[in-house]
């Protein structure tokens, strides 16, 4: 088991946003974290990457907890945030150099991997650009390159499709698939449910900070009133039911 979240309750200051959230992400698995705005997706991810501290519950990654061994824990994670924020003073090349230093990667293979990623995302000729020169989509691509440059065991990808052109979306999905095949675990939060349905192995459906359902599409369908429903329809029915309740 790679990532294990057990009874996570957490939020901002004293106000809990997440209530008893539990799920796992195994190696070679792509799990979709699905929810409406404010359902608690980003809050869950922020707890996993250590930007927020849980009120209660545990998060472990291959048996390591953030609180007990932060370096070993973080060494295994790579993150693509929803809003791309880069260092204004560093060029693209220097962002990659910083990542290589921070994750203590072997420089030669890392730069080789970087070159491949840069070519895939059509950034290879922009190595000396500063973030101010990049569009939002390009910044997003820089963050993807930085994350997939590492040898992380868990990739956390928050709403990756906004701002990306269709070609980049396709390339990102291919990259995720390749890393999955290589044994990495991937947790992806998204609103784009038809894409999630096609690519994710399992789903965790969040509403109001609670896990409403989880499992494969077949599992979710079995729980839904209409067994032929798509992920979109299942989630909408669930969210509507929550609103009516």
């Amino acid at each position: 088991m790679t990532l294990e979240i057990k009874n996570l309750t957490g939020g901002y200051s004293q106000l809990p946003v997440l209530h008893q959230v539990s799920f796992t992400v195994a190696a070679s698995e792509l799990v979709g974290l699905i929810g409406l705005n404010g359902a608690g997706k980003s809050t869950t991810l922020n707890h996993i990457i250590g930007l927020m501290r849980p009120f209660s519950g545990q998060i472990t990654l291959n048996g390591t907890a953030l609180a007990t061994d932060p370096v070993a824990y973080k060494q295994q994670i790579a993150y693509v945030p929803e809003t791309p924020i880069l260092y204004p003073e560093l060029t693209l090349r220097e962002h990659l150099a910083l990542t290589i230093k921070a994750y203590q990667l072997a420089p030669e293979p890392a730069w080789q991997r970087a070159q491949e990623l840069l070519t895939t995302f059509r950034l290879a000729n922009k190595l000396d650009w500063f973030p101010a020169d990049f569009s939002k989509g390009m910044k997003q691509k820089v963050m993807i390159v930085m994350a997939f440059l590492t040898e992380a065991k868990l990739f956390i990808v928050d709403e990756p499709f906004y701002g990306l052109d269709p070609l980049a979306v396709r390339d990102l999905l291919a990259l995720i698939e390749a890393r999955k095949q290589a044994g990495a675990a991937i947790l992806m939060s998204t609103h784009v449910l038809d894409t999630a349905q096609r690519y994710c192995d399992r789903f965790v459906l969040l509403t109001d900070g609670r896990v409403k359902a989880q499992g494969t599409l077949a599992d979710l369908k079995a729980q839904a009133p209409d067994p032929t429903a798509s992920l979109d329809e299942i989630y909408l029915a669930m969210a509507r039911g929550e609103q009516d309740a």
Binding site: K74, L86, E89, E94, A102
Partner: protein, 397 residues
């Protein structure tokens, strides 16, 4: 639309007032009082030494007045959301911009007149005028100052339209020609200015994006000024590549960690912090060079080193809002250690430069005891600042 400008102007005033209160604190007012007093006194002392035949006064006054006309920008207070929200109102926006123009005009004209008042005593030293001609001459210049500034602001308004080619030249050309004529024959200069106002074609289709960028640049300059006195959240440091300083960046990296790399690049490329350090160091060098009373000189050396350190320390938190440092698999102690190494190297260079400048105390014969004392005390101060003060300041946040 006019009401929208008035509402924004009031909000703008409230915001400025908040900053001006911080700028004009008691100490600064006293310092300004002395500074202006000393300058006015020196000016008054110097004026009688200017010969009535001094030809250079004319180009100097002309350059001064042309420069002063550039001060006092067109303040439109447009906001980044305006191109979207107000786009359907573009034709009605004329009322908004007219209000903005008048608001900018009285401020700009006041500045121009103040510049004229400052240069008048010098000008009248070399201008041979009878007592009866003097009031007419001065009145003509006062009128010219108002008309030329008005014309300058009209061009500034034109800058916001799509038809702005050549306007920048005009903004220098108009005051230059206008003032050249006015200084010799004020009424001719006044006539020239009025003629330009009548014949210069008015601004046409508004380029919203340019107008927003223009206003942001203006506010940026203003905030940058306030930022010298207090923290202004709107100021985002500009970045310069500074390839020629990459050797310095490598040297500033005291260790191999990612934080050493980030801080060294950031400090050198961030215009806000980097320039502040070098400006302060340059001022410190000039001041300690000229202050030759030994005890005061040493005190100033120590004070300036402290000032530089206290200005750089907030840079420790520069990257708090970026997710990566929190994510990097680095021990928490790496960050303060890297920053301490950076401060150590930076302050050592700054201290060395200031101390060398301070050796002017023994201009005629080198004072070993003073020079050595400054080296020793500066070294101890750098060590203490890094060892204790830095720790306290970092913890405070």
């Amino acid at each position: 639309m006019r009401d929208l400008f008035i509402a924004r102007k009031q909000r703008h005033f409230t915001q400025l007032l908040k900053y001006w209160r911080l700028v004009f604190n008691d100490h600064f007012i006293i310092a300004l009082f002395f500074l202006f007093g000393a300058l006015a006194y020196r000016y008054a002392q110097w004026l009688p030494t200017v010969a009535p035949t001094a030809w250079w006064v004319w180009p100097v006054v002309l350059a001064w007045l042309t420069l002063v006309t550039q001060a006092g920008q067109l303040a439109t207070l447009v906001q980044p959301a305006d191109p979207v929200v107000l786009l359907p109102q573009t034709s009605a926006a004329q009322g908004y911009f007219r209000a903005a123009f008048y608001y900018s005009a009285w401020r700009g004209i006041l500045l121009s007149e103040a510049g004229l008042v400052v240069s008048l005593p010098l000008l009248l030293r070399v201008k041979d005028l009878s007592a009866s001609a003097l009031p007419w001459y001065v009145a003509g210049l006062v009128g010219a100052a108002a008309v030329l500034k008005w014309g300058w602001l009209k061009s500034a308004y034109q800058q916001l339209s799509f038809q702005r080619r050549g306007v920048a030249w005009w903004q220098w050309g108009l005051p230059l020609v206008g003032w050249s004529l006015s200084l010799a024959w004020p009424l001719v200069g006044l006539g020239f200015g009025l003629g330009c106002l009548l014949f210069k074609k008015p601004a046409q289709a508004l380029d919203w994006r340019h107008a927003v960028a223009f206003e942001q640049q203006r506010m940026d300059r203003l905030y940058r000024f306030f930022n010298l006195f207090t923290d202004v959240p709107a100021v985002q440091g500009k970045i310069r590549r500074r390839k020629w300083l990459q050797g310095g960046v490598r040297w500033l990296q005291g260790g191999p960690s990612a934080w050493d790399y980030l801080y060294a690049q950031g400090l050198v490329r961030n215009v806000e912090v980097g320039n502040l350090v070098w400006r302060l160091t340059a001022v410190a060098m000039v001041v300690t060079y000229f202050v030759t009373v030994p005890w005061l000189n040493t005190l100033l050396v120590l004070l300036f080193i402290y000032l530089v350190a206290s200005q750089v320390i907030p840079f420790y938190h520069q990257y708090d809002q970026i997710v990566f440092p929190h994510l990097f698999p680095l021990p928490a102690a790496t960050q303060p250690a890297a920053f301490r190494r950076l401060m150590n190297r930076l302050l050592s260079v700054v201290a060395a430069l200031i101390v060398v400048a301070s050796w002017s105390v023994g201009r005629t014969s080198f004072l070993w005891w003073h020079a050595g004392g400054n080296v020793l005390l500066a070294g101890i101060e750098v060590w203490l600042l890094n060892r204790y003060y830095l720790k306290v300041r970092i913890k405070k946040k």
